[in-house]
């Protein structure tokens, strides 16, 4: 995905000129520009990013200390050893910022409540894709100052094992991109419930709690009891956290890794479609007063 985006950079530049001259936004150029805008906006909040990194690391230290002690104490701890459990802890901390799993509500929540979303419908771009593009830009920006340092600090203190083949990193990168997109599409779908319910904070919190748990943030999905793992795998949540961690840390490799990424792609399509259906229905229901 990323390769495509960069390959079309020149095209995007050319398109931008078109956009300005003719005012007819051409599909890809607009979303590329929105992604860049999302990146730039996030880059303004430098202290926030440092704060995020700091907090990620404190939680990482505590989690790593407990998990490493648990691996030492247990004979078999979900198939993890000290290196791989370290990778699990620090990669999950690193991905938190990008996936925005525990983050504040996305802008759309307030825009639906206030009725500003009507303006979004008037814009000549697809509502879902434009929000997604902006968020992908934001996520890319959090990954460098928040994600990478988490991994480096984790490697320097507790140690973590990473794969050695370039293929694993390539698949890992694709997996992370799919995870970020999926996480946003889920948040987007949850936000759309606001068309029918006045206050969705309770539903959002519910989503955060159930989602992060089933995604494997607190304990790896591999360590769930069988019945709970079956439930988790029937939801998109493991694809948001456990899958990119497994792919990036080399826990799954070869055919298994491809299947994991394919499952992520499947969920991106399903939740993306669900979002579009909800958006269409919400648009019909929307009633904004005043002028």
């Amino acid at each position: 995905m990323r390769g495509d985006a960069e390959g079309d950079g020149r095209v995007a530049l050319a398109m931008r000129r078109c956009v300005f001259r003719r005012r007819t936004p051409s599909t890809f150029g607009v979303y590329w520009k929105l992604a860049r805008a999302g990146f730039k906006r996030q880059a303004q909040y430098k202290l926030a990013m440092f704060a995020g990194l700091f907090t990620n690391c404190v939680f990482g230290f505590v989690r790593a200390a407990v998990m490493v002690a648990a691996v030492r104490a247990a004979g078999d701890f979900g198939g993890y050893d000290e290196g791989t459990i370290g990778a699990y802890v620090w990669l999950s901390q690193a991905l938190l910022g990008a996936t925005q799993f525990m983050g504040p509500p996305i802008d759309l929540v307030d825009r639906i409540k206030s009725g500003d979303v009507a303006i979004d419908f008037l814009r000549p771009v697809d509502v879902q894709l434009s929000y997604l593009a902006t968020d992908m830009g934001r996520a890319a920006c959090t990954f460098l100052p928040r994600g990478v340092p988490s991994i480096v600090i984790g490697a320097a203190t507790f140690g973590l094992s990473m794969p050695t083949t370039p293929v694993a990193y390539l698949l890992g990168l694709i997996s992370v991109l799919l995870a970020v997109a999926l996480s946003f599409l889920c948040l987007f779908a949850v936000a759309l419930i606001g068309f029918w319910v006045v206050e969705i904070r309770g539903i959002r919190v519910l989503y955060q709690i159930v989602g992060t748990f089933l995604a494997g943030l607190f304990v790896p999905v591999h360590m769930f009891p069988d019945w709970l793992r079956t439930i988790a795998l029937a939801t998109p949540f493991p694809s948001i956290l456990q899958s990119p961690i497994d792919t990036l840390s080399g826990r799954v490799a070869g055919m298994d890794a491809l299947l994991t990424v394919a499952a992520q792609g499947f969920w991106v399509l399903v939740i993306g479609l669900l979002g579009r259906v909800l958006l269409r229905a919400g648009q019909r229901r929307l009633e904004v007063q005043g002028g």
Binding site: Y45, L47, A48, F50, A51, G52, F54, T55, V58, F59, F61, V62, A65, V66, M67, A69, A70, A73, A74, F77, G78, V197, V198, E199, I200, R201, G202, I203, V205, L206, I209, V210, T212, F213, F218, V219, M223, F224, P225
Partner: protein
Amino acid sequence: MAEPDSARIVAGTWFTPYLAVLRSRVKAQQVYRLSFATEVFSAFLIGLVEFAEVWVIFHNVGTLGGLDTNAALLLFGLSNTSFALAQVLVGHLDSLPAMIRMGTLDAYHLRPQPLLLQLITSDISLRRLARAAVAVIVLGVGLWRNEIDWGIAPVTLIVITLISGIALFCGLFVCAAGLQFFLIDGAELTNSFTYGGSFAAMQPASVFPAPLKLLFGFAIPVAFTAYVPTIALLGLPGPPLLPAWSAWLTPVAAAWVWLLAFAAWRIGTRHYQGGGG
């Protein structure tokens, strides 16, 4: 003599205005019934999920840091009861950065009442009682399943621990609020010791490497809210840095946090120049 009496009834005590605000907040939260129900349910689930994490780990390991599964119940029950109740009381201080940014904090400055007391009594999060309920139940089961040498001492220790624990976590929230005057955009930084503190409190501190032991045993002494009292109740020795007898020093730990909290609050409010506009 009747007149001053009735005047006093109308005017009430110094706490009456705070009580009026709190009462309105309690009422307001129950207006959107579906929303309130989902929030209570969510808070309940938070408690459950936090417990599930501890349970899955101990279920796989058996004994971690000298504590078995039964001791883990006690550890979780003590730390989470204190934290959840502290959150009910002062958890809403978390919204201070938004108030500073929006300028709504200035309204509080106009009233002739102490700012911190106003903010603390400006809201109460009833939904979080559901989280506390999970913790209290786990604590009850923990007290029942462990072999505790019951007497006056353990009961006193539990009462002191819970009161000091709630005070300690409240202090951490106030500390965080004081720092928000400087951080604003970096508000998440304080999560590292409020929510991070709560998270660290429910782990057996014996597994921490020395720097973390110093951090959570002395600088931000959350280990005193649960781990140290747990080993004291069970008669376990504990690590050299945190011996079991020090469980009786939990009020000192809470006092230390409140000292930090008052300092942070004082520096923060003096630094604040108003929202402008």
